[in-house]
Amino acid sequence: MEALYAATVGVLMACGIYLVLRARTFPVIMGLTLISHAVNLFLFATGRLALRAPAVIGQSETYTDPLPQALVLTAIVIGFAMTAFVVVLALRAVVELRNDHVDGVDPDEDWRP
């Protein structure tokens, strides 16, 4: 199971990295989201994988490590705030720069319908 989990984290990370290296804003935003997923899962896994052992006292025999969970919980919310901010930044950029490039190219390609 650990190998499978690690492979998933790796794939999410690799796909995320490939997307943030694209030239337009939207793929970069999607890439960032994938990377946050990968990082959250990674951090979560530092508490080791445990089945049927939620960290609620009295609910099970053993308890999983609650600390990474607390960290990841806030990370999810902060990650959401970051996504929202980047999205608005992308919208702002498309208005100000009249294109959605992030690769240093700056053509005036206002694709107004």
């Binding site: 999410l12 997307l19 935003i29 990968a38 089945l51 609650p66 806030t74 990650g79």
Partner: protein, 931 residues
């Protein structure tokens, strides 16, 4: 304490005077500045009897003891003299400036800057700690930059200011290095220790380096050759600035430093040759060029350069008598140069020009100024009986005794006499040209305005000072200058033989030769000007500007090469760096730890494969953006399932709600962005990116695997044990969030609030309405608010809110809590927005969102502060169990209040983000702001 207040008075004044500058009468800021200066001066003079008797006043407060920095002051005769010069001259300048700025804007700004400069100069001369002194040293560079660029709308002023900053600022850096070296050798930055360790410093291997660095600092500040350039270019400053900074104070700071560090660094051949050679070169260059300048202030600037060279030369010779001569000339120079600058300013105000080819014969129009200028110019020329004559003769005597290059000992007095000759010539010129020499030619202001008495008053006082010093020379040299020389050299200076000043000897003939030669030179001036004009023009200013432009362009090219505006490149570099740094380390790690792997069940395998497939799908399909976004959403759902599978119900709930909202936001954004991504990257680039991505993914995956297969050693046992007895809750994750690590959570909700406000600000004036496509493509629904959705959404709201309340309340003991409850509320509310439309939903909102954010953070903070009142640490929680009617057994904890703060912030922030993004969509949305 006195010394501290002497330095602080002008600095505080500098902060307060701008407030007074709004007063109707320009007299008020002038008087306020005058009072401050007078107070500082009086405090200083009160110390004079003690200090002149040879006592050293010090005071010290620790600041950063670990680096040897302390707020330490010292006042000895040398410091007292400079401090008195700074404040006394400052007082006269304030008086002068009041009349100079009459009818011009900017007086208030000038007084403030001048007081700041005065405080900084006082700091330099009274600091006991050299690191502390450096702060003031830099401050003078900065304030003089602003003062020189006072007329910031004029290009020459900006250029002059920049040149000064580059040269003096660069010197300041060198000085800092020198001081740090000295301090590390001596083991203390206090002057008392450094001055006592002169032998150690001179014997040290780094002595030449220290000397070079310190001299660079002093020479740049005191405009010594070849750094003298900035001083003539600083003449773009208003005249009060020139008179104050560039004749009396700032340019003397370098000389002060030479005198101050004399016991630590002087008395070596290196000192003698470097300082005296530089001084001589400056003396000659300045005197020669000054003669040929037609602008009064420029002539005076070069003359100042030359006199500073003279004093530096004397400092370089370093004998007790040379010190006396140098310090005496320093006093005299301040007394005759400042009024000449003031004269130049007054004449410019009266005639509108500073060009001596046009200003002539002003004696008819301003007789009083003529007499006063005659006195000061005579002093500068070195006419007998004036103070300038005495110190210049002292200089000639020293030059005769100087044993610099033994076979060429005659050279020093000869060069000194030549410099004296030019000095006499330009002194005659500035007086004769301005006040006599025929009639004025094409003055911009005609007839010349009569200068006010007030503007002449400081000139009169300083001219009187010149006469007084000439008259009482013996008393001043014995009483004041000797004490200064003693304080400077650290050994008691012998009494100066004033008798030799009245001997008819070689020095007398040198003076005579200089005066007569100067007269002849001046008589031949027209011929000389022609010759000078034929010299190849070597405008140092242009060379400097060329260098600056080159440096600027070079830096720009470098920055552009590094930073080409491509986020792609930055991210690639960041990730590559991470791979390169971490790669070799990770290659040596044992990947498989001792912990046995958990067996995998088919369902988990299926989930993992699907999750990987969605991720690949996002990449492969990212050109069709809506499709990729839907896949991204499913990837998020699989993450949720992962959390749920591996015993993290809180995470699963949070991820689920966040995922819903995040996808909504991205979908909103997508409607304003192109629906597809064109193929742009070359095949090569795509393969390169794939390699980086695979390496990054491989690394992360392997590290993750390596961690998971190792046995765990966590601090979490503490949390698990203490959760119920210490935190009063059985859901350990929630207890960690709101109790054990509550401070972290407080930070997190603050970040969330900031992000939301930033989104609010960025969308505020964002005009996107025209970007909404008229013809939606097939993916977008044609009906924005479908009837079924609208009907269903309303009954869902109370149910959702109830669920949210339930999740919130049980959060401490069961999966749930403020974050999750908040997100559920937001999902329910945003459904109303989508179903009913923005305006409809907005009208029904009871509160705007920004107060919710602030209120939530405030509530969380107050809960934390509450425990302080109980005498407990910040954010300590308290709880108790109660039996309430209807509800039954309930546990109340202050953590619940904190969690309520979290809940409120999450709702406020998320709704603010969603509503403002949604507002962009509405063609006829609410006109007013949302949030």
């Amino acid at each position: 304490m006195t010394l501290l207040s002497v330095v602080l008075l002008p600095l505080i004044g500098a902060l307060l005077v701008p407030l007074l500058a709004r007063a109707r009468s320009p007299l008020i800021p002038a008087i306020a500045s005058g009072i401050v200066t007078l107070a500082a001066l009086s405090l200083l003079l009160l110390q004079a009897p003690t200090v002149l008797s040879g006592e050293l006043i010090t005071s010290e407060w620790a600041w950063i003891p670990s680096i040897g920095l302390s707020i330490a002051f010292r006042l000895d005769a040398l410091a007292l003299f400079f401090a008195t010069l700074i404040t006394g001259m400052g007082l006269l300048i304030i008086l002068y400036a009041h009349f100079y700025f009459a009818g011009k804007p900017g007086a208030g700004r000038f007084y403030a800057l001048m007081l700041a400069f005065m405080g900084a100069m006082l700091g330099i001369v009274t600091s006991e700690n050299l690191l502390f002194m450096l702060i003031f040293w830099e401050m003078t560079s900065l304030v003089s930059f602003v003062l020189i660029g006072f007329h910031s709308d004029q290009r020459p002023a900006r250029r002059g200011a920049r040149m000064t900053l580059v040269i003096t600022g660069g010197g300041g850096l060198a000085l800092m290095a020198g001081i740090v070296l000295m301090g590390s050798i001596v083991g203390s930055f206090n002057l008392t220790d450094i001055l006592a360790a002169g032998d150690e410093l001179r014997a040290h291997a780094h002595y030449p380096l220290i000397l070079t660095l310190v001299l660079l600092g002093a020479m740049t500040k005191s405009a010594q050759f070849p750094f003298h350039l900035w001083l003539p270019n600083a003449m773009t400053a208003p005249t009060p600035v020139s008179a104050y900074l560039h004749s009396a104070t700032m340019v003397k700071a370098g000389i002060f430093l030479l005198a101050r560090l004399h016991p630590a660094l002087a008395d070596t051949d290196a000192w003698l040759y470097s300082v005296s050679t530089v001084g001589m070169a400056t003396l000659l260059t300045g005197a020669f060029i000054a003669m040929f300048k037609h602008d009064t202030k420029e002539l005076l600037a070069y003359s100042t350069v030359s006199h500073l060279g003279l004093i530096t030369l004397l400092m370089g010779l370093g004998t007790a008598t040379a010190l006396v001569a140098g310090l005496f000339h320093l006093l005299n120079h301040a007394l005759f140069k400042a009024p000449l600058f003031m004269m130049a300013g007054a004449v410019e105000k009266a005639t509108g020009t500073r060009d001596m080819r046009r200003i002539n014969g002003l004696w008819r129009h301003m007789p009083l100024l003529t007499i006063m200028s005659a006195i000061t110019a005579a002093s500068m020329a070195g006419l007998p009986l004036f103070n300038g004559y005495l110190s210049k003769k002292m200089f000639f005597i020293e030059s005769l005794d100087a044993n610099v290059i033994s076979p060429l000992n005659w050279l020093t007095p000869v060069l000194a006499a030549i410099a004296g000759l030019f000095s006499a010539a330009y002194s005659f010129r500035i007086f004769h040209n301005v006040f006599f020499n025929g009639q004025p030619r094409e003055l911009p202001v005609w007839p010349p305005r009569k200068p006010a008495l007030g503007i002449q008053l400081p000139i009169i006082l300083l001219a009187a000072g010149c006469l007084f010093v000439g008259w009482q020379a013996e008393g001043i040299v014995h009483g004041l200058i000797r004490a200064m020389a003693t304080a400077s050299s650290g050994v008691k200076a012998p009494a100066y033989d004033m008798g030799q000043l009245h001997h008819v000897g070689p020095a007398f003939y040198m003076s005579l030769a200089a005066l007569i030669g100067g007269l002849i030179l001046y008589a031949l001036r027209e011929r000389l000007f022609e010759l000078y004009d034929q010299l190849p023009p070597a405008d140092a200013r242009e060379i400097f500007e060329w260098l600056m432009t080159r440096a600027g362009n070079g830096a720009e090219r470098f920055v552009h090469a590094l930073e080409n505006g491509s986020v792609q490149r930055y991210i690639a570099l960041i990730i590559l760096t991470a791979i390169i740094m971490a790669g070799p380390v990770l290659a040596n790690v044992v990947w498989y730890g001792a912990k046995p792997m958990t067996p995998a069940d088919p369902l988990t395998i299926l989930g993992a494969i699907l999750m990987m497939a969605t991720a690949f799908g996002v990449v492969l399909g990212h050109r069709n953006r809506l499709f990729a976004l839907l896949l991204l959403g499913s990837a998020g759902l699989f993450v949720t399932l992962t959390f749920a599978r591996f015993s993290a119900p809180d995470l699963a709930l949070t991820q689920l709600s966040v995922e819903v909202i995040a996808v909504i936001i991205m979908m909103l954004a997508l409607s304003f962005l192109p629906q597809t991504t064109p193929v742009e990257s070359s095949r090569l680039r795509r393969s390169r990116d794939s390699i980086i991505a695979v390496l990054g993914g491989l690394g992360t995956g392997l590290v993750s695997f390596a961690i998971m297969t190792r046995p765990q050693d966590s601090i979490s046992d503490f949390f698990l044990e203490q959760s119920v007895p210490g935190g009063g809750g059985s859901n350990v994750v929630n207890v960690i969030l709101v109790d054990f690590r509550g401070f972290d959570t407080l930070g997190e909700i603050t970040v969330l609030g900031i992000a939301a406000v930033a989104v609010f600000a960025l969308t505020r004036n964002l005009q996107l309405k025209h970007r909404i496509p008229n013809e939606r493509d097939q993916y977008w629904a044609s009906n924005p608010h479908p009837l079924i959705l609208r009907t269903m959404a309303r009954p869902i709201l109370p149910i959702a809110l109830m669920v949210s309340a339930y999740i919130f309340l049980r959060g401490h003991n069961m999966p749930g809590g403020g974050f999750i409850a908040g997100l559920i509320t937001v999902v329910a509310l945003s459904l109303q927005y989508m179903a009913g439309g923005l305006a409809w939903a907005h009208d029904r909102m009871l509160t705007s969102f920004r107060p919710l954010i602030g209120g939530g953070i405030l509530l969380a903070c107050l809960t934390g502060l509450g425990s302080l009142f109980m005498g407990l640490e910040f954010l300590t929680s308290w709880f108790g169990h109660y039996e309430l009617p209807v509800l039954g057994h309930i546990e109340l904890a202050t953590a619940l209040l904190f969690d309520l703060g979290v809940f409120t912030t999450v709702v406020g922030a998320t709704m603010l983000i969603l509503a403002n993004l949604g507002k962009l969509m509405t063609v006829n949305g609410p006109g007013e702001e949302i949030g």
